[in-house]
């Protein structure tokens, strides 16, 4: 079980979060071609080591977090709120 430190809510159990995928890929611009979207949707690096991920805190503040998780040790670092809106505390 992961314990994820939410910048707003504090450290919470994994069950409160929904994994929203790889945060190292960015949605291409609207005018990008299909192959760029193909890479965005399907191609994944599967690294051994640090991996940027999206986690939505559905059981708490409902903010989308971008964090780095070590795929070997599950250590979590660099947790930040993705939100556009007002910065969290």
């Amino acid at each position: 079980m992961l314990r994820i430190p939410c910048p707003f809510c504090g450290v919470r159990d994994e069950i409160e979060f929904r994994y929203r995928g790889d945060a190292s890929v960015a949605r291409p611009a609207a005018q990008a071609d299909a192959s760029e979207f193909f890479r965005y949707v399907y191609e994944r690096a599967n690294p051994l080591g640090w991996h940027a991920e999206w986690w939505l805190h559905v059981g708490g503040c409902r903010q989308l977090l971008r964090l780095e998780r070590h795929t070997l040790t599950h250590e979590i670092r660099a947790v930040a709120v993705a939100a556009a809106a007002e910065p969290a505390r």
Partner: protein, 981 residues
């Protein structure tokens, strides 16, 4: 007959409170405070079971959770609970237990002839036999194994397994595992600094080794007194840490004492999930066995266990005790037994030099130095011990009824290794010690390789100081420390794993799985040189005891076979769980009707009173049909009434999201494949939403309530997924948009009034709105009042009829609903359930979850023209992939049955007499309201080009094959004249 007996007052037993129990049907008596094992020994019984593979008689070997042999079935009112350890099972009045793996009885076990057959049952036997096809497996080995192998008996649980269970969540600054001298000293120190400490101890009492040494009783009593005064220190006894899961999370199983169990309705265990900032492993060390021939005979026991039975329960494990040791600690049992009046017939010590041996010799005990035990005589119990000098010489014998063995102590490293701690060899104790990364916690005491209670206690304080520093705890505690009774000087041990001589007589390294020294040798000869390979080949360490007392022996034997030092071989790494855990405890309270929460409609009570049959859809309970008559007739009656007159149904389960803010319209344009920025205030529009891969995600109507305020509805099934999708898209991909999302699903009760007379009903009930077709046309949305309740009205239809949906705050749902029913009485307004709603929508060709199955594109479902030509939206680019435009893709069509037979969801559609997977399948089906003939929706390869064709709908599992005509999915009123009426 000599044998074990109760000879003294035990620390835990109460001589004034006898407890009667039954073992294998025989009435026996013990004392309150006994374990089943101590009570059996006190009754003179040694034999506890038969072994796993060879059916050899087995006794009690240990006094704790490391026990490999004394496993019993516990018989309770709830059923048979297998594989309980007699050594930890508290004795209670009326307890009934049975020994395991014997047939027909423990004393006379026919299958002991397995021992004679053992030449055919070497390690790897299963693999080899499986590889050799032929008569031998089927006729000889399989029946034999089925009868012979295994431990406890699992009985099918018939009826409700009604005992309650719970999972408790715990938090602490420091979890201290183990309450021996190290754990107690550390816990008191940490709590004294103001830290929140959770002290877990699997024993029924706190104290660990201090319980066995009278010099420590005063210290222990003082420590427990201090502990009671520290509110930030919680001590849990009978609590086993099952596993370490990283990030400070630990699982634990607590066995409840009788009175607490009664308070919790008969609950026996409690699963705990512990979250701690740091862990302190003070979980001690486990005494290990030595391999020699017949080292499994009843009466062969660990020396520490003999000491525990004497101190804790006043039980002497034998009348004439012999010892076989390689270390000084084991002599404590010798001196204690002698002091209690038990005869010690001799000590066989592997070492030439020992301070403890000198003291024993001085006290008149025969000491045989530089010697090892080679074999044990006796079958059902130890009768004599054969030993010899290591350097050779004749074998000599000691007549004894108990042989107390100690091969040293192995630090309990399982939990630390689960946290990734590497192991390093510590020659002074001949054992592996884990090294925990800083930041996770620390180790202390015997778990870290310390010896002696005072050294362990001091080490506990050292580790506590370290953790307190890391956690930046307050000032050091006031000097309240009780001095530690000093440890005695000791001679170091001499590593010893295997004293067996050649193949005669089985020398066990794993008593529970019947693994012998020669099995390890065989594994090595056959190439399984790695410890983990040897483990899997021989099953060494794979039993429920996880090789606690013999695990290192196997590694030692393997090291000798390989000709390397044991430090190069390593030690087995046990995984969670540390002990057998009942499934009921793992499942916790979330079983059966509590498996998942139930969501109830605001009108749930009304539907109940109206006699609705309910159905679970996701978490919701929804009325399926009113009345309890079975079959399609009541459903069709409800649906026909809607087609002919008017019906009302509860659609409050629809997901409802408010999207507000200056950029709300732009956001919806990005989320939906069609356009919402052009939607006028007061209008609703059907929308489709794609995933980024171009597949359909959800559909529903969205209404514009104000320029910067939309109300989105989603399908019931996808409500939370759609909200999460929108939240993700808004926060990840639309950082510039000023939009607020609010889930108002539970705020609004929503009812659909549908049928040709819907307008009459609604007009009679609502105010503040003009309902003429021109004034409030199809897809209009407005505010209204219903029975004085402010709400909203939408002219949308899921049934294909003239329909309105009315929404009111859920608290006023019943008032509003009843007002509608009253207003509808002249029109014979009747409620309809989910089944009728489904019939109506299938006839109209509306899709739901069966068609929105994650594999369908807008083009597949006939929505290709809804995709906006300009502007970005989720799924736009990948929906345009050429492969998704292929004509042979499965496309939505309608099917009409050409006979009176029924259709089924999932029926395959086939051409002519073809067999196989077919061209597609039926997704939804229903009898038609008009004539009761079946129709449905289907996904059919190239479906739109096949309209008018006749195919076969086939269900091979039902042996059904029905002719169907392929039609447009809009099987009712394709021009939409009814909904626009």
């Amino acid at each position: 007959m000599p044998g074990p007996a109760r000879i003294a007052q035990g620390l835990l037993t109460d001589p004034r409170r006898p407890v009667s129990f039954r073992f294998d049907g025989r009435q026996l008596s013990g004392l309150a405070g006994d374990t089943l094992a101590s009570a059996l020994l006190a009754s003179g019984r040694l034999l506890a079971g038969r072994s796993f593979k060879y059916h050899r008689p087995r006794g009690i070997v240990t006094a704790g959770p490391e026990e490999p042999c004394a496993l019993v079935d516990l018989l309770t009112a709830a059923g048979r609970e297998p594989n309980r350890l007699a050594t930890t099972l508290p004795l209670s009045e009326g307890l009934r237990a049975e020994s395991q793996n014997r047939w027909p009885s423990l004393r006379c076990d026919v299958l002991a002839l397995n021992g004679a057959l053992s030449a055919f049952l070497p390690a790897g036997f299963y693999y080899k036999t499986f590889m050799r096809p032929g008569w031998a497996w089927e006729r000889l080995f399989e029946p034999l194994i089925r009868r012979a192998a295994g431990l406890g008996r699992l009985e099918a649980i018939v009826g409700r397994h009604a005992e309650p269970a719970e999972i408790v969540h715990d938090h602490a600054d420091v979890l201290v595992v183990g309450a021996g001298s190290a754990g107690l000293a550390a816990a008191l120190h940490l709590a004294g600094l103001g830290l929140r400490v959770l002290l877990s101890e699997q024993d029924s009492v706190l104290g660990g080794g201090t319980l066995l040494d009278p010099r420590w009783h005063a210290w222990r009593a003082h420590a427990l007194g201090v502990l009671q005064r520290l509110p930030q220190l919680r001590a849990l006894t009978r609590t086993c840490i099952l596993g370490a899961y990283g990030q400070g999370v630990f699982g634990a199983l607590e066995r409840l004492e009788a009175d607490e169990s009664a308070r919790f309705g008969g609950q026996r265990e409690r699963l705990r999930v512990i979250r701690a900032r740091r862990v302190l492993f003070a979980c001690g060390a486990t005494e290990r066995l030595i391999a020699f021939a017949n080292n499994d005979r009843p009466g062969v026991m660990l020396a520490g266990a003999a000491l525990a039975y004497l101190r804790r329960y006043g039980v002497a494990v034998g009348e004439r005790c012999a010892f076989f040791v390689n270390n000084d600690e084991a002599y404590e049992a010798l001196f204690a037994l002698r002091a209690a009046g038990v005869r010690v017939v001799g000590v066989v010590d592997r070492r030439a030099v020992s301070l403890a041996a000198d003291r024993a010799a001085a006290a008149g005990v025969p000491v045989f130095r530089d010697s090892v035990v080679e074999t044990v005589r006796g079958r059902a119990r130890v009768r004599a011990v054969g030993f010899a000098q290591v350097s050779g010489g004749p074998r000599r014998h000691l007549v004894a009824d108990a042989l107390l063995v100690s091969g040293g102590h192995t630090p309990n490293a399982a939990l630390a290794t689960q946290l990734g701690a590497p192991l390093h060899w510590e020659a002074a104790i001949a054992g592996f010690v884990p090294a925990l990364s800083p930041g996770l916690g620390a180790l202390a005491g015997a778990a870290r390789g310390e010896g002696g209670l005072a050294a362990c206690a001091a080490d506990g304080v050292r580790a506590a100081r370290l953790l307190a520093l890391e956690l930046q705890a307050g000032a050091p505690p006031t000097a309240d420390a009780q001095p530690f009774p000093p440890d005695e000087r000791q001679t170091p041990l001499l590593a010893l794993w295997d004293a067996s001589k050649g193949p005669r007589g089985k020398a066990f390294v794993d008593l529970q799985n019947d693994v012998t020294v020669s099995d390890v040798h065989l594994a090595h000869r056959e190439g399984y040189e790695h410890l983990e390979h040897m483990k899997r080949y021989t099953t060494h360490g794979m039993a429920t005891d996880q090789g606690r007392i013999g695990g290192l022996l196997g590694a030692g034997v393997l090291a000798a076979a390989r000709g390397v030092h044991i430090s190069a071989v390593g030690q087995l790494k046990p995984r969670p769980y540390a002990q057998a855990v009942p499934f009921a405890a793992l499942a916790g309270p979330e079983v059966r009707e509590h498996y998942k929460p139930k969501r109830r409609l605001p009108l749930h009570a009304w539907h109940e009173r109206a006699g609705a049959t309910f159905v679970s859809t996701g978490l919701w309970l929804r009325p399926l049909v009113y009345g309890d008559a079975a079959g399609w007739e009541p459903v069709l009656a409800e649906a026909r009434h809607v087609r002919r007159a008017v019906g009302i149904t509860d659609v409050s389960t629809l997901g409802k999201l408010e999207v507000r803010g200056p950029d709300a319209a732009r956001f919806l344009d990005f989320i939906y494949a069609n356009t919402f920025s052009t939607l006028a205030v007061g209008r609703a529009r059907y929308g489709i939403m794609l995933r980024e891969d171009g597949m359909m995600m959800d559909d529903g109507t969205t209404s514009r309530l104000a320029a910067d305020q939309f109300l989105v509805t989603t399908t019931t099934a996808n409500a939370s997924a759609v909200l999460e999708h929108m939240e993700f898209q808004l926060q990840a991909n639309c950082p510039g948009l000023d939009v607020v999302l609010s889930d108002v699903t539970d705020q609004w009760a929503q009812f659909a009034v549908a049928g040709p007379r819907a307008r009459e009903v609604v007009a009679a009930a609502v105010s503040g709105i003009e309902l003429s077709n021109a004034g409030f046309p199809f897809m209009a949305a407005a505010a209204m009042e219903l029975a004085g309740i402010p709400g909203r009205i939408f002219r949308i239809s899921f049934s294909g009829e003239l329909a309105y949906e009315l929404a009111v705050p859920a608290r006023q749902a019943e008032t509003a609903w009843c007002a509608l029913l009253a207003a509808g009485q002249p029109c014979q307004l009747r409620p309809y359930g989910l089944d009728a709603l489904n019939t109506l929508r299938i006839e109209k060709g509306h899709i739901t979850g069966a068609e929105l199955n994650g594999n369908t594109t807008p083009a597949d479902l006939g929505f290709a023209r809804m995709l906006k030509a300009h502007g970005d939206f989720v799924g736009r680019h990948l929906a345009a992939r050429p492969g998704l435009q292929a004509e042979e893709r499965l496309q939505l069509v309608g099917v009409r049955c050409l006979s009176d037979a029924r259709l089924r969801n999932g029926m395959h559609l086939l051409e002519g007499t073809a067999v196989g997977p077919g061209l597609g399948y039926i997704t939804s089906s229903t009898p038609a309201t008009a004539d009761g003939r079946w129709l449905g929706l289907a996904l059919l390869s190239g479906g739109r080009g096949r309209i008018g064709e006749t195919l076969r709908a086939s269900s091979p599992v039902h042996a059904e094959s029905v002719p169907v005509r392929i039609v447009s999915p809009h099987m009712l009123d394709p021009e939409n004249t009814r909904v626009r009426a």
